[in-house]
């Protein structure tokens, strides 16, 4: 009698029924989903005042409070979210409505992430944002990526962005035993990725923000009854492209034509495709289960994931289990909001011996994989003298032996999380206090075992080593925020002031090396049981945002950071920013415009710092002891050396000034939206590894604050909803970034004769480098000899005498192109028709050059017909150059590696409601192909290798994924 029912129908803006929308009573777990005809019914509701809440993805939430006195009919008309304008975006220390924010910010939500087999979170946004370049390090399971936001601002220090998860800034420290620290974060737990690009957005992170900031929020609990999601993916990985090396037949012909009798006699009698021997078709599975809802007014989300993936390189394997918990209860009449995030991950990895990749290209294809011998029965090149057989020290080792006879296994545990308490002060309206305590702890340990008979470690009697490392990072932050709307003067203010304390502690356990039989390798005993490098950062920060009449916004922020890495007099750095925004479409002359729905001008300036990659104690004059293997003999005793370390007492922050001008636009009721930005970034006091006068310190190169780098660029993005109706949706997105990078100064004293700092180590010889950082050129410019050609063929060893002094030496090297792309583009589209959906992501780079190290190393006669007792394979490059000896520094091996790649092609079928009596479960089936094709003129392994040096590169597999997704 005092309970009633509520029923009704949900329709969309065009009057069509909306199935699957959630409707429930606020503050209770009572709720249901609309049926196929949009109807719903809630029964057994206590009479009285109740608030109904309706939610449907892509539509604005609705609420209606009714005074229930009997069965009631409530129909709702839902309005689609007029795209992003009302969306709230996270910014540093808070959030803001998208229409109001002043900085250059890009956000990607879960529904727009890259699909398919994604094991590491940064891959979710590859190609999705202007100005953000995500390049995976290769195809190994869980391997990481290089993330560059608007080009790199640094030369010797780090160019990695700061990553902040749920408000907790992470350190970029490696975790021993993990291919990549980010792969301990389950991509399935991530709700949004927000990238802060200009200084107006990043400067609040001060000294860690020069390379941009990536804010990751993870999925949270929701009010309402429990929702369970189960997803399962099965993936198949295949090597798409193998290297173009000589086949056994071609090889035999080459040796028989060009070799001497001894070399011909070395030919084997079989034919082995070594690349087929080291690569496999691999399988992976990724299963995730989550439950989210509300328990006694406490929203929660609990999820678990299990990933098991093999690599295309034989023996490569990653298993990962993750668990995540979020609780976000409110107390004190919702004045105190608590947000608790706890994440845990365990991974077991076996790392394949990646030197097998290069060895497979270089190994004689006429030899068998297995023979009977003392090296585990893998064929190896040996020499025999006086009846003693020894491994030929100059030859490649058997690629299959390299893989099968090395067990490199690790176990990593990581847990990170935070508790955030946000308290709305009772007596001052608009004043909040926020306390955020976070931690990130991990333990990585592993073993490397190579049996004594394995050729790869025959000399040292095998390997049986262990390692262990612990990371214990802590974060504490507190801020006060005051936000108030002064309607009478059409003004709003939003002010924040805070304090942060960050502690980074790593414990590296030090072990002796062991032979396979467990004997200690002499000379390897550590002098200390462990090392505990530690760094701290203390920060004060503030931000003030003032808006007038919803049209003009002026924002400023200031951060003062203190770091333990610097001497007390240089320890503190001040990082300000200032930004102005004009919402032009709010002016009267545009307010009524039908075509222009959003137009906003953003102008900003800011200064940020960078200190990642700087040694922890480099300002301190210290003495340290050498390892046992670096002792010196006096008499019959060996003394470990005690030596003064180089130091720079004046080392301080690197500082980047960023100017940004941007326009956010929206046309046709925001069916078309996007942004254009131009930026200019100038880094000064570059933390640069420069030569110092020998004799002035305990080394001849030091990381110190000298040098300037400029990055200038334009970004453009456009997103369009080309078709949007009840049965069909078609969305398209495109972004393009042009970035021009130039070094403007490198030395304390200007000297035009200084060539620059060599970089880009290559394989071949000892210590060869192929790139240089020089003033007036882009970073990582190639530094090569200019090849002379005759009849279209390169002439071996003949280069242009660019210095004109009659000899060819280092002075004739010239700078030619860079590995940095000038233009990066991303395109994505999704077409949905009724239950079917097709999506695609394409990316392109223009102007990136690649050094084909493999061709330079293998494609010469003396590599096949080696004079010291073995044969080696070559790429088919050998037919083109006909070089006899290696010519590593010829520009002949540089190629334009511009490319167009289809990252992803996906198909989804929404089966609809299945299972159970009331068919409440919703099933989707999806199929994806990743790394579908690459269009490029570059003829090496892959045109997209961040360093610009193609050698021993783990191929990115072509991946086929079949997945199911069940919601109930």
């Amino acid at each position: 009698q005092n309970k009633s029912s509520i029923s009704g129908k949900l329709i969309d803006e065009s009057g069509q029924p909306l199935p699957g929308a959630y409707i429930g009573i606020m503050g209770s777990s009572t709720g249901t989903n609309s049926d196929a005809n949009g109807n719903y019914k809630l029964t057994g509701i206590a009479n009285g005042s109740v608030t109904l809440q309706v939610k449907f993805i892509g539509y604005k939430d609705l609420q209606r409070t009714i005074n229930l006195i009997g069965d009631f009919v409530a129909n709702f008309v839902m309005q689609p979210e007029s795209t992003a304008l009302t969306e709230v975006v996270v910014i540093g220390y808070g959030s803001q409505q998208k229409k109001d924010h002043t900085g250059s910010i890009s956000t990607v939500n879960a529904k727009d992430f890259q699909k398919g087999s994604i094991t590491t979170p940064e891959q979710l946004i590859s190609g999705k944002m202007a100005g953000v370049n995500v390049v995976s390090n290769g195809g190994s399971p869980g391997s990481g990526s290089v993330i560059r936001i608007r080009g790199g601002a640094s030369l010797s220090a780090s160019n990695d962005p700061l990553i902040v998860i749920d408000g907790v800034p992470l350190s970029n420290d490696v975790i021993a035993g993990a291919a990549n620290p980010l792969n301990l974060i389950n991509p399935n737990d991530i709700a949004t990725f927000t990238v802060l690009k200009d200084a107006a957005a990043t400067a609040i992170y001060g000294s860690r923000a020069s390379n941009g900031v990536v804010l990751i929020t993870t999925k949270k609990g929701e009010e309402g009854k429990p929702k369970i999601n189960f997803s399962s993916q099965l993936s198949v990985y295949e090597v798409g492209k193998k290297l173009d090396v000589l086949t056994a037949e071609e090889f035999r012909t080459y040796v028989n034509t060009n070799g001497n009798d001894a070399q011909k006699a070395m030919l084997g009698s079989t034919s082995t495709n070594w690349q087929n021997e080291v690569y496999q078709t691999a399988i992976g599975a990724d299963n995730n289960l989550s439950i989210a809802g509300s328990w006694k007014q406490m929203p929660y989300r609990l999820s678990g994931g299990y990933l098991s993936q093999k690599g295309v390189l034989v023996t490569d394997k990653l298993n990962r289990s993750t668990v995540a918990l979020n609780l976000s209860p409110s107390f004190l009449d919702k004045h105190l909001k608590v947000d608790l995030n706890l994440k845990g991950a365990f991974s077991n990895t076996r790392f394949a011996n990646q030197s097998a990749i290069g060895a497979a290209a270089a190994f004689d294809p006429t030899q068998s994989v297995n023979v009977t011998n003392q090296y585990g029965n893998y064929f190896e090149w040996t020499t025999t003298a006086n009846g003693v057989t020894t491994l030929n020290p100059n030859a490649s080792r058997n690629p299959v032996g390299l893989l099968q006879m090395k067990a490199d296994e690790s176990k990593v545990q990581r847990s990170y999380g935070n508790i955030q308490l946000d308290y709305q002060m009772p007596f001052v309206a608009g004043l909040r206090a926020n306390l955020n305590l976070g931690y990130d702890v991990s333990k990585g340990e592993g073993t490397v075992f190579v049996p004594a008979e394995a050729a790869q470690s025959y000399a040292v009697g095998g390997v049986n080593n262990e390692y262990k490392q612990k990371v214990n990072n802590k974060v504490g932050e507190f801020y006060l925020n005051y936000a108030k709307d002064f309607k009478s003067i059409k003004s709003t203010i939003n002010a924040t002031a805070g304090y942060g304390y960050y502690d980074f502690l790593t414990t590296k356990y030090l072990y002796a090396s062991h032979k396979a039989n467990g004997d200690v390798v002499s000379g390897s005993e550590p002098s200390f049981p462990f090392d505990k490098p530690q760094a701290r950062l203390i920060s004060y920060y503030g931000r003030f945002i003032y808006s007038y009449d919803s049209k003009y916004t002026l924002a400023g922020s200031l951060r003062n950071d203190g770091s333990s890495k610097y001497a007390p007099e240089n320890r503190w750095g001040l990082f300000p920013s200032l930004a102005f925004t004009w919402r032009i479409n709010q002016e009267n002359f545009l307010k009524s415009s039908k075509s222009i729905s959003d137009l906003k001008l953003r102008l900003s300036y800011g200064s940020t710092g960078q200190q990642d990659g700087i040694p922890y104690y480099s300002y301190l004059p210290v003495y340290s002891y050498s390892v046992a293997a670096a002792s010196y003999q006096f008499g019959n005793t060996f003394y470990q050396m005690s030596s003064p370390a180089a130091y720079d007492s004046s080392i301080k922050w690197e500082q980047t000034d960023t100017y940004n001008a941007g326009i956010d636009y929206g046309f046709a009721d925001n069916r078309i939206t996007g942004a254009v930005d131009v930026y200019y970034k100038k880094t000064k006091d570059l933390l640069n590894n420069i030569p110092i006068a020998p004799g002035s310190n305990f080394t001849n190169e030091i990381i110190t604050n000298v040098g300037n780098v400029e990055n200038k660029g334009v970004e453009f993005s456009i997103n369009a909803a080309a078709i949007r109706n009840k049965t069909t949706n078609w969305d398209l997105g495109f972004n393009i970034t042009y970035n021009d990078n130039k070094i403007t100064n490198l030395t304390a004293i200007d000297n035009p004769d200084y060539a620059g700092a060599p970089t880009g180590a290559i394989t071949g010889g000892t210590g060869n480098k192929i790139q240089i950082n020089s003033v007036n050129y882009p970073t990582n410019s190639f530094y090569v000899y200019k090849q002379i050609y005759q009849d279209g063929k390169p002439v071996e060893g003949l280069y242009e005498d660019l210095s004109g002094d009659g000899v060819i030496n280092e002075k004739d090297l010239y700078r030619y192109k860079s590995s940095n792309p000038k233009v990066i583009m991303g395109f994505n589209t999704q077409f949905t028709h009724k239950k079917w959906s097709v999506s695609a992501v394409l990316r392109a780079n223009i102007g990136n050059y690649m050094y084909n190290n493999l061709a330079a190393g293998l494609g010469v006669k003396n590599n096949i017909l080696n004079p010291v007792g073995y044969l080696g394979n070559s790429t088919t490059e050998i037919y083109r150059s006909n070089f006899i000896n290696n010519q590593y520094q010829s520009d002949y091996y540089l190629q334009n590696a511009s490319f167009l790649r289809m990252d992803n092609l996906g198909l989804t079928y929404n089966v609809g409601h299945v299972l159970g009596a009331d068919k409440t479960a919703n099933l989707r089936i999806n199929a994806n192909c990743q790394n579908v094709f690459v269009v490029t003129k570059y003829n090496g392994q892959d045109p997209e290798i961040y360093t610009g040096i193609d050698n021993n590169f783990y191929p990115r597999p072509k991946t086929f994924v079949l997945g199911v997704n069940l919601d109930f």
């Binding site: 020894t390 100059n394 040292v460 203190g562 030596s643 006068a693 305990f698 060599p758 480098k769 004079p867």
Partner: protein
């Protein structure tokens, strides 16, 4: 909270703690010496060593010194493509050469470490650290030895680069620009230092193995005086001084090692009466990819039976000789003059980059005199010590100085010394001589001292380094050899030194 920002490393310490007691001083002394024997504190495979801008394994003092002294001559040529190494044999190096930068930096690095030790070992510092008595006396010897090593490295810089940067213990660490010192002035400085420490060093053979004694200072003085015309200018030779200091060494308790080959084997730190000072290497305790590990492995190929050289897993097929070296011996088979230790069958060098073109040199080996292989964790690190000064050189210096006009020695005595070397080489008197010329001395130095890091200096002194009066295969980049610019008798000041130090002026020609 700001005090929370004062953090210190776990396993490192302050200078005061490092020098707290006599043992601490000795461990820093190990660095003072060790900085020319190993490439860094963290072992040979660490990410970086003491000297930057060059591969750590290559940044070893002896590997670089040997390369610029030997690869630039008829004694050695290399097949590798490592940065800049090909420049030496074809004689087209520039100021951008990485190895020259590495060597210049290594020498000044050791000098800087010596300077630091001198700052920290003054009588006042010892007193303040309460180190007294025999401990303090021993540390005063260390001080003299640090000054010797500093003088030795200044000699290296003076010989190769002419007028290098100059720093002493009176200069600070950090923002400081070392001035350039003129070659002749540096000669005077080294001379005065060596004479000043003469009474402060231990008497010949009274020091521990690996550490220098008075004979080391005399030997370096003799070497400098022999080359004095090169350093000071024609007509400014100090050959009487060369004889004086050669005689001091000869009169001391050093004597020839009866077996020539034992001077260059894995146990040459034992029972070796001849070597005055050597860089001590050890396959276990002083691991290094340079030093004799380099010299032996690079000289041997996998096809030459590496275990016979005490490097069971080694043999890198890198360096070998041009025909001029074996042809210094009338019979280079080794059957008559046992100093000729060559391998291979192809004396001609048709391709500069093919290891088997030219004879391999087996003079240095890691095997011991009793045919044992010293311990090494990887079958490659060598334990053979590299002689910096040995008595045979002093004999040759005496003879040459007399021939160059010294009046305080005699050719008769010189012949005695030369024939002692000949008798050892031949095993009997059949190779003995009754007279000699200056050119004979150059050839005999080649036969006796080849691959020991002397050749470039010797050819410069005899005006045969750059000129076309004497050529060898691939000198000047052509197969038959040709002369090159005369300014190449000096190496250029590395360009990055000019950049970092505006006080430096480049050598003529570069």
């Amino acid at each position: 909270c700001s005090n929370d920002l004062n953090l210190t490393p776990t396993n490192a310490t302050t200078a005061d703690a490092a020098y707290a007691n006599a043992q601490g001083y000795k461990q820093v002394l190990a660095k003072v010496y060790g900085s020319y024997a190993v490439t860094g504190n963290e072992g040979p495979d660490a990410a970086s060593g003491d000297v930057k801008g060059i591969d750590q394994g290559t940044s070893d003092f002896m590997r670089m010194f040997w390369s610029v002294q030997e690869l630039s001559t008829e004694e050695a040529a290399i097949v590798w493509n490592d940065p800049g190494v090909q420049d030496f044999h074809v004689m087209n190096w520039s100021s951008g050469n990485v190895m020259l930068l590495g060597l210049y930096s290594r020498s000044l690095y050791q000098i800087t470490v010596c300077n630091e030790f001198l700052r920290e070992s003054t009588d006042e510092k010892l007193a303040s650290r309460k180190i007294t008595g025999t401990d303090a006396d021993e540390i005063r010897y260390y001080r003299a030895e640090a000054r010797f090593l500093r003088a030795f490295q200044y000699w290296v810089l003076m010989d190769l680069f002419g007028s290098p940067s100059f720093v002493t213990e009176n200069d600070p660490i950090g923002k400081f620009t070392p001035p350039q010192i003129k070659r002749a002035e540096l000669f005077g400085y080294i001379e005065s230092e060596l004479k000043a420490i003469e009474p402060l060093l231990k008497a010949p053979k009274q020091n521990e193995y690996g550490r220098v004694d008075q004979a080391g200072a005399w030997a370096l003085l003799a070497r400098m005086y022999l080359n004095s015309e090169v350093y000071l200018g024609a007509g400014k030779g100090k050959f009487n001084d060369a004889v004086t200091y050669a005689q001091k060494v000869i009169a001391s308790s050093y004597s020839l090692n009866p077996a020539y080959k034992n001077l260059f084997l894995g146990d040459n730190d034992k029972n070796n009466p001849e070597t005055i000072l050597a860089i001590a290497y050890d396959g276990v305790n002083s691991q290094n990819w340079g030093g004799t590990t380099y010299l032996i492995n690079a000289a041997v190929s996998g096809a030459m039976n590496p275990p016979e050289f005490g490097i069971p897993s080694g043999g890198w097929s890198g360096i070998r000789s041009t025909k001029n070296l074996p042809l210094l011996f009338p019979d280079y088979s080794g059957n008559t003059d046992k100093r000729a230790i060559f391998f291979g069958s192809n004396i001609e060098m048709n391709d500069l980059l093919v290891y088997t073109d030219g004879l391999a040199v087996g003079k240095f080996s890691n095997i011991t005199s009793t045919n044992q292989t010293p311990p090494s964790p990887n079958g490659q690190y060598a334990s053979t010590d590299f002689p910096l000064f040995r008595l045979a050189e002093i004999y040759l210096t005496y003879a040459e100085a007399v021939k160059r006009g010294a009046t305080n020695g005699s050719e008769a005595t010189a012949l005695q010394y030369l024939n002692q070397l000949r008798s050892r080489a031949f095993g009997n008197a059949s190779g003995n001589i009754s007279s000699y010329t200056l050119d004979y001395i150059l050839d005999e130095r080649g036969r006796e001292l080849y691959w020991e890091g002397f050749r470039r200096s010797d050819l410069v002194r005899f005006n045969k380094f750059t000129s076309d009066a004497y050529v060898w295969p691939w000198k000047g980049g052509v197969k038959d050899g040709k002369g090159v610019e005369a300014y190449r008798v000096l190496y250029p000041i590395p360009s990055s030194v000019l950049v970092s130090n505006p006080a430096m002026e480049q050598n003529t020609g570069y």
